[in-house]
Structure formats: C-alpha cells, structure tokens
C-alpha cells in the first residue's frame, strides 16, 4: 500500500448509468436492454489504488472505459480534478486525456504490430506536442529503461517480445505522458505468476515515484489484496459493497462478497 495517500479525491464518478441493447429471442430479432452500469458511484483518492472486482459480466470493464470517456454513458458524471469530463469536447478533452491513461489486459492485442516499440511509446508525446523531437526521444528512452527494457528495444516490433515484456511496453506507453490517473484493466491476468509478480511490483514502484492513482480492474481477489487500498465489489452492473481493503477481506458484509471471498482457491488448505 502506498504511503502518501491524501484525502483529496482526484477522480470521481457519480451515479453512472450505461445500458447496452442486446439482440434476443430466436434468431435475434428482438432486442432487450442490459444494464452494464446501474447507478455506480466511486471516488479515487489521489495516490491510492482503488480496485474494482467482479466476475465476468459484472460491468467492471465498462466502468473503466466510461471513466476514461472511451464509451459514452447514458447518465451520471465523471469528475476529474473538479471538471466534468462528459462536458468536455475536442481539444479540451484531448488536453485532459494525457492525465488519464490506461493499461490494457491483453498485451498481444493492445500493441500495434506494425509500429516499433519506440513509436508506440513515443506516440503520445508526439500527439500532445510535448517538447522537441530530441526531448521526446529522450523521454521515451528514459521510460523504456524505467520499465526494465533497453534502448535497443525501441527499434524492435511487439512480436519480438514475451507477454511480460509487452506489458512493460504497455505500461511505458501509459506513463510516458506523466499521467495522474492510470486505469489498469486486468493488467496481469494473461501472465504467468512469476511475471505477474514482477509487473505488480513495477506498478507499485512507479506509483510511489510518480505519485500515480490507480483504478485496478481485476477478477483475481488474491492479486487485489496485494495492490489495493480500497475495493469496490461489482455484480450485474451494481456496486454490492465498497470499502477499505482490510475491512472487506476481514469482515465482508454482503452475501455476494462473502461468496466471492470463500471461492478463492486455496483458502481452506492454507
């Protein structure tokens, strides 16, 4: 857990609602509404990690995407440093975006196979026009080294790397712009446990160095226990329970949370 957690709320979502229409009935001629987010409110304290846990279909990834305005939502608001993101458009939204970054689940699908690693990591700097070309290159290389890659790797393509190394590239891409909030959507679920441990430690170090706030989406309650300060438990688009990590693990109040915790493999034998 990070040390310098303040009481300042850096990112807040109030009463988010998002429905998808889904084909239903025989041959999909009908349609029905699925509530992916049903009155979801969360707040992220600056410098802390808020984990969103739930099973498939609980709406946790939809929440991540709505927070970053990657998906439009039907109702509610997302406040970042006092600004309602949904009201921002065009350049104003782009300006804010550099403070809000995302690390994706699948390190194989989330990197453009035709771009070199240096281009992938440096692209954000280019788009946001941060510094001269030389400064951009320096910053890009510095970031690659920081996540445990080498300067030579900048000239390689994503397919030349293992899953763990690709996730490092994804992290470098997200952090090169000095963001304030990083949404990590299942960042370690595709990785072997030994690589998973490396990436979790890297994320924690970077959080302390750069003062980052994380939204950490995960279905793995063991991982969450290690990274989160606070937890939100989601089920069928609704928040079932939220609170400090210790409280939720030691004394879950809701039956669904209790059920989730008791299903963690290896608990009985340990």
């Amino acid at each position: 857990m990070s040390q310098q957690i303040s009481e300042n709320i850096i990112l807040q979502a109030n009463h988010l609602v998002k429905s998808y229409s889904q084909r239903s009935g025989r041959f999909g001629f009908g349609s029905s509404q699925v509530k992916a987010l049903d009155d979801v409110s969360i707040s992220l304290k600056a410098g802390s990690t808020l984990a969103v846990v739930g099973e498939s279909g609980s709406g946790k990834s939809t929440l991540a995407r709505c927070l970053l305005q990657l998906h439009p939502f039907d109702g509610g608001e997302v406040i970042f440093e006092g600004q309602d993101l949904a009201k921002l458009q065009g350049q104003a939204l782009r300006d804010v975006r550099k403070y809000l970054q995302m690390v994706f689940q699948d390190p194989f699908a989330s990197l453009n196979p035709r771009m070199k690693v240096g281009e992938i990591v440096g692209e954000g700097l280019l788009i946001h026009g941060m510094g001269s070309a030389t400064e951009q290159k320096q910053r890009m290389l510095q970031m690659l080294l920081r996540v445990g890659l080498s300067a030579d790797d900048a000239l390689k393509y994503p397919h030349q790397f293992s899953g763990g190394q690709r996730q490092r590239i994804g992290i470098a891409r997200a952090l090169v712009l000095n963001p304030k909030v990083v949404v990590c959507d299942e960042p370690v679920s595709a990785l072997d446990v030994s690589v998973q441990a490396q990436i979790l430690l890297l994320l924690k170090e970077l959080q302390q160095e750069m003062g980052l706030s994380y939204i950490f989406i995960s279905h793995d309650l063991r991982v969450v226990r290690h990274v989160a300060d606070e937890i939100v438990v989601m089920h069928k688009g609704k928040i079932v329970e939220q609170g400090a990590v210790e409280a939720i693990y030691n004394a879950p109040q809701q039956p669904y949370t209790q059920q989730l915790l008791s299903a963690i493999p290896g608990r009985k034998a340990a």
Binding site: V245, I264, A269
Partner: protein
C-alpha cells in the same frame, strides 16, 4: 493402492530439431482414487505430458519413453486400439469448454456419442444414461436438448465432465479445466470433480498453473520447469516445505488472499549455466 498409469522417461522433441527437449525425461505414476496435480508456468511441458498420454501430440512432435496404462504399454498400440481406450478408459477435459463442444449438435447427442461408440448403447437405454450423467454433474435432464451456446461457461464445463466420465474411465485427465471460469463457478467445478473422483475411484491427472487450485484439489503435486520435473511430493510437503529453489521461488510469487506475503519475482541465480540441478523427487 492400485497403479493406473506409469510414465517412464518420457521425452518430447520437435521432429525437425531433435536436440530441443520440450519434455525431458519425465517419469510419474498415477494411482486409483488419487489426484495428482502437474503445476508449472507456460512452456513447462505440463500440457504436452498430458497430451502424450492420449497419443494426441501434434505430428510435428516426437515422443520417446514408456507409458503403461493398466499394464499395457500404450505407446506401442495402433490407432484402432488407442481409440478403444480414449474416451472410454481415459477421459479428458480441456480448458476451453466452448471450443471443445460442437456448436451445431445438442449436448445430449454429444454426450451420447461416446456411449454409443464404446458401450453400444442405443434408444431408451442411451437416453436414460444421458439423463443420469447430466444429473450427476448437476444439470437438469431437459438440458440434453440444448445447444452449447445456450449454456453458461460453467454448464458447458459440466457437460464436458459428463462426456469425459460417461464410460467410467479409470483415468481422468483435466487440463486447466477451470482457468476460463469465474471464481465462484471454479469452486463448484473443483468440488464436483473431487466428488466424482472419489465416487468412481478414478485416478485424476490435473494440470494447472494456479497453486490455489492445487491446494484445493491435489493429493500429490508434480512441479515442472522447462520440460523437467523439479519436485514431486505430497501436497502438504510441496506447498508448506518446498525443497527445490524453483518451487520456493514460484510459491513466493503467488499472491495470498491474506495479503501478508511480500511478493518476490523469481531470481534464477540457482540455474547454473542454464542447468537445473538437485531435483527433489520423492
């Protein structure tokens, strides 16, 4: 305790590069009524070992060694004799329940296929057996007429289990059967497999990368690393008193639900010149 399967000195190499050992000199024994977990990271050779038992390796791979199943060396059998064992005396469950079921056939039909092929069941007898199997794995009998896409992931895996135990096999191989499932569903499936193993006195070979799952289901544990077995032992010994540096390091990477543990990435310093030394095999 009766011995069901004994693998001696199994090695697997690609046909075009015989010097590369994907599985290196693996020996193991499985007994009736016991669950043996093979645990390891990707590329450790755990799935290849399982596939070679069923002679299901890709034609690009070459296996050597002996695999004796109920007293018979199955590496020497022809395809026809193998077919009478596969699905009948040895059942198998795979990781992805959607890709292992045929989407255009009802699940009842698919469960029935092996019953007809191996036991010659037909008509009402076949129907009754399908109903009994579905009930046994906790699915309502009328689901026999459903197609795989009408079932949830957990139900599909239950159907796979019904198929694999249909002919009451002596050995059940489960290759990461719960990896694609949510935790609550995973817990149910593990319980079901454990109950079936006990009731039918099967030997179960359970492949997983998750030490939590090992703690729940294993009797014995085999740890594999880069194609080799580095440690074997009872669940209690391997999980609480690991001896090999790789097992220790791997366990130190696994996050615990209590959050007490300091996670430590693996330091491969004990790998001398890339060689694995001091294997701990009980």
């Amino acid at each position: 305790m009766s011995e069901i399967l004994k693998i001696t000195n199994l090695s697997i190499t690609p046909k075009n590069t015989p010097s590369r050992l994907l599985v290196n000199n693996v020996s193991l024994t499985l007994s009736a009524g016991k669950t043996t977990c093979i645990v390891g990271e990707s590329g450790s050779g755990k799935s290849l070992t399982a596939l070679s038992i069923m002679s299901l390796l890709s034609s690009q791979l070459l296996a050597s060694g002996n695999i004796v199943f109920q007293g018979q060396d199955i590496t020497k059998l022809d395809e026809k004799s193998l077919q009478s064992i596969r699905g009948a005396k040895i059942g198998m469950i795979f990781q992805e329940p959607m890709t292992s079921l045929n989407p255009v056939l009802t699940v009842g039909y698919q469960i029935g296929e092996s019953l007809t092929a191996h036991l010659g069941l037909k008509g009402q007898a076949l129907k009754d057996k399908i109903t009994a199997l579905l009930t046994q794995v906790g699915i309502p009998a009328e689901r026999a007429n459903s197609y795989p896409d009408e079932l949830s992931g957990g139900q599909r895996q239950r159907v796979m289990i019904a198929m694999s135990i249909a002919c009451e096999p002596a050995l059940l191989i489960a290759d990461e059967p719960t990896t694609a499932l949510d935790v609550t569903v995973q817990a149910q499936i593990l319980q079901l497999l454990d109950a079936l193993k006990t009731r039918m006195n099967m030997a179960m070979l359970f492949i997983t990368h998750d030490f939590g799952v090992v703690a729940d289901i294993a009797d014995d544990v085999i740890v594999m690393f880069r194609g080799e077995i580095v440690e074997t032992g009872s669940k209690k010994d391997v999980l609480t008193k690991p001896k090999h540096p790789y097992t220790k390091a791997l366990l130190a990477c696994v996050p615990d639900a209590e959050g007490k543990k300091q996670l430590k990435p693996i330091d491969y310093a004990w790998l001398k010149d890339g060689l694995i030394e001091d294997k701990v095999v009980a």
